[in-house]
C-alpha cells in the first residue's frame, strides 16, 4: 500500500485504515445494533470533533450531540460506510455548533493551558524513560500547534486524510466537496505544514 512509503511506525495507522474497511461491512446483516455498527468509530468521531473544536469541552458537546443524532438517524442508515456516515454527522454538528457560537473559531489556536494538560495526560507510561517521553511529547505538541493553526477547511481535510486515513472519495463525501477541491485543499494544507516546520526549524 502506498501509505507505507514514508517512515516507520505507521503500521498501526495502516491497520487502522484496514479496520475501517473491514468495519464498513458490519452493517450488511440485518439486526445489527447501533452499538455494533457505530460505536466502534467513537474514536474516529472524537478525533475529528477534537481537531475541529480545539477545546476538549466543546469537542465533547459536539461528540455527545452527534452520537444522539446518529442514534436517531440510525434506523434509516442503509449505507455501506458507517465511519464516513458518522464523521459526516460529527462535522455537521461541529459546524452547526460553531455558527451558533460565533467567535469560537476566532479563539487563537494555541490555547496553551489545554494543550499542555493534554500533553501531560498523554505521556506514555513505562516503555520510555521520562526524558525521551518528554521530548516526544514536546515534538507532538509542536506539530499539534502547527496543524491547529491551519484554517479549518484545510485542517479537517488533512486530519481526515492523514489521521483517519480516508480516501479522497470518502473525504469528499464527509465534507460535501468535489474531489478536486479535496485534492487542492489537501495540497495547500501540506504545503503550509511543511513551510511552518521549516520556519520553526530556522527560528
Amino acid at each position: 500500500m502506498a501509505i507505507s512509503v514514508s517512515q516507520g511506525g505507521r503500521w498501526l495507522a495502516l491497520d487502522h485504515r484496514r479496520i475501517g474497511r473491514v468495519g464498513d461491512v458490519l452493517n450488511s446483516s440485518p439486526g445489527d445494533t447501533f452499538e455494533a455498527v457505530v460505536l466502534p468509530y467513537l474514536d474516529a468521531a472524537h478525533n475529528l470533533a477534537r481537531w475541529l473544536m480545539r477545546d476538549p469541552a466543546s469537542a465533547e458537546d459536539v461528540l455527545q450531540e452527534a452520537m444522539l443524532r446518529a442514534l436517531t438517524y440510525f434506523p434509516s442508515f442503509k449505507g455501506v460506510n458507517p465511519r464516513g456516515w458518522l464523521l459526516q454527522i460529527v462535522r455537521n454538528t461541529a459546524y452547526a455548533s460553531m455558527s451558533l457560537n460565533r467567535g469560537v473559531e476566532l479563539v487563537p489556536p494555541t490555547n496553551s493551558s489545554d494543550e499542555t494538560e493534554d500533553v501531560v495526560a498523554r505521556l506514555p507510561s513505562g516503555d520510555d524513560d521520562p526524558e525521551t517521553s518528554l521530548i516526544r511529547a514536546r515534538e507532538r505538541d509542536r506539530v499539534h500547534r502547527m496543524i491547529a493553526a491551519l484554517p479549518i477547511e484545510l485542517r479537517e481535510t488533512l486530519v481526515l486524510r492523514e489521521l483517519e486515513e480516508l480516501s479522497y472519495k470518502e473525504i469528499a463525501e464527509v465534507t460535501h466537496m468535489p474531489i478536486g477541491t479535496v485534492m487542492s485543499r489537501l495540497w495547500r494544507a501540506r504545503r503550509l505544514l511543511a513551510q511552518a516546520a521549516r520556519r520553526d526549524e530556522a527560528a
Binding site: D15, I19, V22, A36, D43, Y168, A194
Partner: protein, 257 residues
C-alpha cells in the same frame, strides 16, 4: 512562483490514489519536472510530521459518558434470564415472531435445540466481540496496562472489575502477553487480555460464567474467534490470526498452568 498542473497528481500518487497505468505515465513526467520533484519532497516533509500520536482517541471517561447518554436514549433491552447474557432486541423479536408463527410447542423445541447446539453463542455477542477488538486496535486503545508480566497485569484489574481474571503468559509457546484493559460487552465490564503472535494481536475477553465447554470457532468479517469456558469463566479469543493458529492459542491457554 512557477507551477505545474501535475502537482496534484503527484500528491494523488503518493496518497495511493492512482492506478498503475496513471502512475507509470506520471513517473516519466516526474523524472523531468523539477517542480513535481520539489512537490514530492514537500509531501514527504509534511507526511513525516504526521505521527500516530496526533490521533486523539476518545478519553475513557468521555467514552463512558457517551455510552451512558446513548443507553439513556434507547429503550431498555429484554433479558433472557437473570444469568444469561442480554440478547439484542432484533434477535429477540425475530426469535419471538418465528416462535409465535409455529406455535408454542415448536417455539419451545426450537429454543431448546438452539440452546443445546449453541450453548454459549448468543447471536450478537460474536459481533460485539469483533467490534470490541476492532475498537481496541485503533491507536491508543489496545491496552490500559502494558506489561509482559502477569504479576503486573493481574493486580491491575483489582478494584476495576468485580472478578479476578486468570492471567497466563504464553511467551514460551510464542504467544507473549503484552497487557490488558477493561472492555464492555453486553453492558458489563469484562477483562481483555492482549497477546501477540508476530504482528498479530489477540484479544482474550474474560468474564465469569458457569459450565465447561470445549473450544468452538467462528469467523466474522475476516476475524477468527474461538471461545470456551473453564473454571467458572467464559473466554473469547479474537484475532486476524489464521484459524488454526488461534485454535492453537486456545489449546495452549487451556493447558498452561
Amino acid at each position: 512562483m512557477p507551477d505545474c498542473d501535475k502537482v496534484l497528481l503527484v500528491q494523488a500518487e503518493l496518497d495511493g490514489e492512482l492506478g498503475a497505468a496513471e502512475a507509470a505515465s506520471l513517473a516519466a513526467h516526474r523524472a523531468e519536472c523539477p517542480i513535481c520533484q520539489a512537490a514530492a519532497a514537500e509531501f514527504a516533509q509534511a507526511r513525516a510530521l504526521m505521527r500516530d500520536d496526533l490521533y486523539q482517541p476518545v478519553p475513557e471517561d468521555m467514552r463512558q459518558r457517551v455510552i451512558a447518554t446513548i443507553a439513556a436514549a434507547q429503550p431498555p433491552r429484554p433479558q433472557m434470564s437473570a444469568t444469561a447474557m442480554p440478547t439484542t432486541p432484533g434477535w429477540w423479536r425475530r426469535w419471538w415472531s418465528n416462535g409465535a408463527s409455529f406455535g408454542l410447542g415448536a417455539a419451545c423445541a426450537a429454543a431448546l435445540a438452539f440452546l443445546l447446539v449453541m450453548p454459549a453463542m448468543p447471536p450478537g455477542l460474536t459481533e460485539q466481540i469483533v467490534a470490541g477488538h476492532v475498537r481496541a486496535l485503533q491507536p491508543g486503545h489496545l491496552q490500559d496496562v502494558a506489561s509482559e508480566d502477569r504479576h503486573t497485569v493481574k493486580p491491575w484489574f483489582d478494584g476495576r472489575i468485580d472478578f479476578a481474571p486468570p492471567v497466563k503468559d504464553l511467551a514460551a509457546v510464542r504467544f507473549p502477553l503484552t497487557g490488558g484493559r477493561l472492555d464492555y460487552l453486553n453492558g458489563r465490564p469484562v477483562a481483555a487480555l492482549v497477546y501477540q503472535r508476530d504482528k498479530h494481536v489477540i484479544d482474550l475477553f474474560v468474564w465469569p460464567a458457569s459450565g465447561e465447554t470445549s473450544p468452538q470457532t467462528a469467523e466474522r468479517q475476516g476475524y477468527n474467534i474461538v471461545h470456551w469456558s473453564q473454571n467458572g469463566m467464559a473466554f473469547w479469543a479474537v484475532s486476524d490470526l489464521e484459524a488454526a493458529q488461534l485454535k492453537q492459542f486456545a489449546e495452549d491457554w487451556r493447558r498452561a498452568p
